[in-house]
C-alpha cells in the first residue's frame, strides 16, 4: 500500500500527539494516582447503615483534623441525605474550609445517581450496591452546586445542594 510522503508526516504528527496525550494521562493516573473514580467496595443498597460511614449519625461533613475532612452522603430519588443537625432538621449545605483535603463517600439506596460538584473535579456515578469515593482539595473560595447529573426520575433536576468553600 502506497502512502504519500505528506500522509506519513501527518500520521507521525497525529499518532505522536495521541501518544503524548496518553503519556500525560497515563503518568497522572499511575504515577500521581489521579485515577478516575473507580472505588471497588460493594454494599447492600437496602441496608446501607450496615456500613459505618452511612450510619445516620455519620452522614454529612466530619472533621478529621484541620487539614482533613470526610463527607458521607446517601443519595435517593430525589435527595442527597447529609444527616440532621441537633434539633433534627435535615442539613442542606456542605461547608468545607479552603485547601483542606476532602474525601467524598457516596452511595445510593435506590436507582443510579450522579454526584457532581460543578466547577470541581468531583464527578462520580453512584450505583446501587457500590460506594463511590473521591478525594480532592477544594482550592477556590465560593459557593458551588452539588447536583445529581445522571437521570434518576421525574424529580431529577430538583436533586441538588449547596457547597460552601470558606
Amino acid at each position: 500500500m502506497h502512502l504519500h510522503k505528506y500522509e506519513k508526516i501527518w500520521l507521525i504528527f497525529g499518532v505522536g500527539s495521541l501518544l503524548l496525550f496518553l503519556t500525560i494521562i497515563g503518568f497522572g493516573a499511575f504515577y500521581k494516582g489521579l485515577q478516575p473514580q473507580s472505588h471497588m467496595m460493594t454494599i447492600d443498597p437496602e441496608n446501607v447503615e450496615a456500613y459505618d460511614a452511612f450510619k445516620q449519625e455519620n452522614l454529612g461533613v466530619t472533621k478529621v483534623n484541620d487539614q482533613k475532612y470526610i463527607v458521607n452522603v446517601v443519595a435517593t430519588a430525589f435527595n442527597f441525605d447529609l444527616g440532621k443537625n441537633e434539633d433534627g432538621t435535615p442539613l442542606k449545605e456542605i461547608r468545607i474550609p479552603k485547601g483542606a483535603t476532602v474525601l467524598f463517600q457516596v452511595t445510593t439506596k435506590d436507582v443510579v445517581h450522579g454526584f457532581s460538584i460543578a466547577g470541581t473535579n468531583v464527578n462520580m456515578m453512584v450505583e446501587p450496591g457500590y460506594i463511590s469515593s473521591y478525594e480532592t482539595k477544594l482550592d477556590k473560595y465560593g459557593e458551588f452546586t452539588l447536583l445529581c447529573n445522571e437521570y434518576c426520575g421525574l424529580g431529577h433536576h430538583l436533586m441538588s445542594t449547596k457547597v460552601e468553600v470558606y
Partner: protein, 552 residues
C-alpha cells in the same frame, strides 16, 4: 460498463424508500421534541397536559438516535448494495421481513413512551423500570436490523461466488463492514435487553445486575456511534469524489480505515463508564488506549478527503496553496451539505478525544458538554451527510430530478443548520465546562450563583434549537418535494471510480476471517477479565423502580 442487473427497479426503490420514509417522519417528530426541550430548559415554557420533560426527552433520543439513523442507514445501504452487487428476489423478500419486524418494534416502543410508561431516556439505565413493551419493542428493532445484516452479507457472498478472484466493490465492502460492526455490537444490547430487562420487567426475575447491564449497554453504545458515522464515511470516500468530478483518492486506504473501525470501535465501551465504581481503573485505561486507536482511521480519512479535493482542484487547473479549496463546487448541495458535515467533525472529533481521556473525563462527564459533543457528531456531521445523500438518492429512488430551486433551498438549509448548531452546540460546550448537567429539566438548583450563570447558555440553546427547527422544516419540505413533486427525470447515482492507473488494492484487505478474528480477539482481551471481575464482585441485584419515572 452498465450492468443490467445493477439498475434500480421499482421493487428496489420501494424497499429503500420504505426505510427512508420512516427516517424523515422521525426527523419531524424528534426535531419537534428537541425544540420543546430547549424551551423548557431555558425556563420559557411549561409543557401542557401533564406532559413531562423527560418523556419528550426520551422520545427525542429514541426516535432520532435509534430510529432515524438506523432506518436511513439501512435504506441507503440497500440502495448501495443493489447498485454494486445486486439483489435477488429472495434477498429482497427477506429484507422486507426485516423492515416489518423493525416497524412493529418501533411502534411498540413509541406508543409505550407516549403513554408515559417509559420515561427512561434512550439509555434506559436499570434499575429504572419501564413497561415491558418498551424493551420488547427495542428487541424487535434490533432483531429486525439483524435481518438486514444477513441480507447484506449474503449479497456480497453471492457476488463473490459469481465473480471469483475479483475485488469486491468498495461500497459493498464498506456496507458489509458496517453491518458486521452492527451485528457484533448489538449482541451486547440484545443480551442485556432479552436476558436481563425483559424477564425483570415482566416480574420473572426479582433483581437485575445494574453494572452488568450498563457494561453490556456501553459495549454496544460506542460502536453504535460508528454505525452512524461509517455510512457518512462511505459517502465521503466513494460518492463525494464523483460529485466534485474527481476520483477515489485511494481504495486501499479507504478499506484499511474501515477495517480499523471494525476492530477498534468495539473494545472501548469503558470510556463511557470512566467515573463508575466497580470497574478496575487499569482496565479502564486499557480501553482508553484502544479508544485512541480508533482515532487513527479518522486521521487517515481527514487526509484522504483533503487530498481528494486538492488533486481534483489541481487537475482542473486551480493552482496556489488553496486555489483548489476556493473552487470546490460550493453551490452544489450534494457536496456542500456533506462538506459542512466534514468540517463539523473537526471540533466534534476533538471533543471526543477529550471525553475519552481517562481522568479528564471528570471535567465533562454527564455535563451538557457531552450533549453538545454528539449534536456535532451525529446531529451535524452524520445528519448533514445524510441530507447531502438524500438530495440525489431520493430523486433517484422516486424517478425525479433535483431542481435548481431545491438545490438552492438545500444550500440555505445547510447554512441554517450550521448557524443553529453553532449556537446550540457552542452554548452546550461552554455551559458543560462550567459544570451544567445534561438531561435535566429547568432548575435553579436551589438558587446558586453557578446555576444562574447557566441560564444564559440555556437561552443560547433555545435560540439555536429554534433555528435548527426551521432547518428541519426546510428539510421536510425538500424531502416531500423530492419524493412527490419534483419533475420526473433521471437523477445521477454518483458512484466514484478509482484512477485508471491506481495501485492495485492488496488482497489481505479482504481477508474477512483475519479481520473478524482480530476483532473478536480484541473484544475478548478488553472485556473478559474485567467482566468476570464485575460478576464475581457483584453486590446484591436491584429490584425494579417504577415510581421515579411515574410508571406505577
Amino acid at each position: 460498463m452498465i450492468n443490467e442487473k445493477l439498475q434500480l427497479t421499482k421493487k428496489d426503490t420501494r424497499l429503500s424508500m420504505a426505510f427512508i420514509y420512516v427516517a424523515f417522519i422521525s426527523l419531524l417528530i424528534g426535531g419537534l421534541m428537541g425544540l420543546l426541550q430547549t424551551f423548557v430548559r431555558s425556563g420559557a415554557l411549561t409543557l401542557p397536559w401533564g406532559i413531562n420533560y423527560y418523556q419528550i426527552l426520551t422520545v427525542h433520543g429514541v426516535i432520532l438516535g435509534l430510529v432515524l439513523t438506523t432506518y436511513f442507514i439501512i435504506g441507503f445501504q440497500y440502495a448501495l448494495m443493489k447498485k454494486t452487487v445486486g439483489i435477488t428476489i429472495k434477498e429482497r423478500k427477506i429484507a422486507w421481513i426485516g423492515f416489518w419486524i423493525m416497524l412493529v418494534g418501533t411502534i411498540m416502543t413509541a406508543v409505550t413512551i407516549l403513554l408515559g410508561k417509559a420515561s427512561v431516556l434512550y439509555t434506559f439505565y436499570a434499575p429504572l423500570k419501564a413497561h415491558p413493551a418498551f424493551y420488547i419493542g427495542l428487541a424487535l428493532v434490533i432483531i429486525g436490523s439483524w435481518v438486514a445484516c444477513f441480507v447484506n452479507f449474503h449479497q456480497l457472498f453471492r457476488w463473490k461466488k459469481d465473480n471469483k478472484g475479483e475485488k469486491s466493490p468498495l461500497l459493498a465492502f464498506m456496507v458489509v463492514i458496517n453491518m458486521l460492526l452492527w451485528l457484533i455490537a448489538t449482541l451486547g444490547v440484545a443480551a442485556t435487553v432479552i436476558i436481563q430487562f425483559i424477564p425483570w420487567s415482566l416480574g420473572y426475575a426479582e433483581t437485575i445486575n445494574v453494572l452488568v447491564s450498563r457494561t453490556l449497554f456501553w459495549y454496544f453504545g460506542h460502536p453504535l456511534v460508528y454505525f452512524w458515522l461509517l455510512p457518512a464515511y462511505m459517502a465521503w470516500y466513494a460518492i463525494i469524489p464523483k460529485v466534485i468530478g474527481g476520483k477515489i483518492f485511494s481504495d486501499s486506504l479507504a478499506r484499511l480505515s474501515f477495517v480499523l473501525f471494525l476492530m477498534f470501535s468495539i473494545p472501548v465501551g469503558f470510556h463511557h463508564q470512566l467515573t463508575e465504581p466497580g470497574i478496575d481503573p487499569t482496565w479502564k485505561f486499557i480501553q482508553v488506549v484502544l479508544t485512541f486507536m480508533v482515532i487513527i482511521p479518522s486521521l487517515l480519512t481527514a487526509f484522504s478527503m483533503f487530498a481528494t479535493f486538492e488533486i481534483t482542484g489541481r487537475r482542473k487547473g486551480f493552482t496556489g496553496l488553496f486555489g483548489w479549496f476556493k473552487h470546490l463546487p460550493w453551490k452544489d448541495v450534494r457536496f456542500f451539505a456533506p462538506m459542512i458535515g466534514m468540517l463539523a467533525f473537526i471540533p466534534a472529533g476533538t471533543g471526543g478525544i477529550i471525553n475519552a481521556s481517562h481522568q479528564l473525563n471528570a471535567v465533562v462527564h454527564n455535563t451538557i458538554w457531552v450533549t453538545g459533543h454528539f449534536h456535532l457528531t451525529v446531529a451535524t456531521t452524520v445528519i448533514l451527510t445524510f441530507f447531502g445523500v438524500s438530495y440525489w438518492l431520493v430523486p433517484v429512488l422516486t424517478g425525479r430530478k433535483l431542481t435548481k430551486k431545491i438545490n438552492n433551498l438545500g444550500l440555505i438549509q445547510t447554512v441554517v443548520w450550521a448557524v443553529g448548531m453553532s449556537f446550540m452546540s457552542g452554548s452546550m460546550h461552554i455551559a458543560g465546562l462550567l459544570g451544567a448537567p445534561r438531561r435535566s429539566a429547568y432548575s435553579t438548583y436551589g438558587g446558586t450563583e453557578q446555576a444562574s450563570d447557566w441560564i444564559g447558555y440555556q437561552i443560547g440553546q433555545a435560540i439555536g434549537g429554534s433555528i435548527l427547527f426551521i432547518g428541519i422544516l426546510l428539510m421536510i419540505y425538500i424531502f416531500i418535494n423530492l419524493a412527490f413533486f419534483a419533475p420526473k427525470g433521471n437523477e445521477e447515482f454518483p458512484l466514484a471510480e478509482e484512477e485508471k492507473d491506481a495501485e492495485p488494492t492488496p488482497k489481505f484487505l479482504e481477508n474477512w476471517k483475519l479481520w473478524i478474528g482480530l476483532t473478536v480477539v480484541l473484544i475478548l482481551f478488553a472485556y473478559t477479565i474485567p467482566f468476570i471481575d464485575i460478576i464475581v464482585h457483584s453486590p446484591a441485584g436491584s429490584p425494579p423502580f417504577d415510581w421515579p419515572i411515574g410508571n406505577q
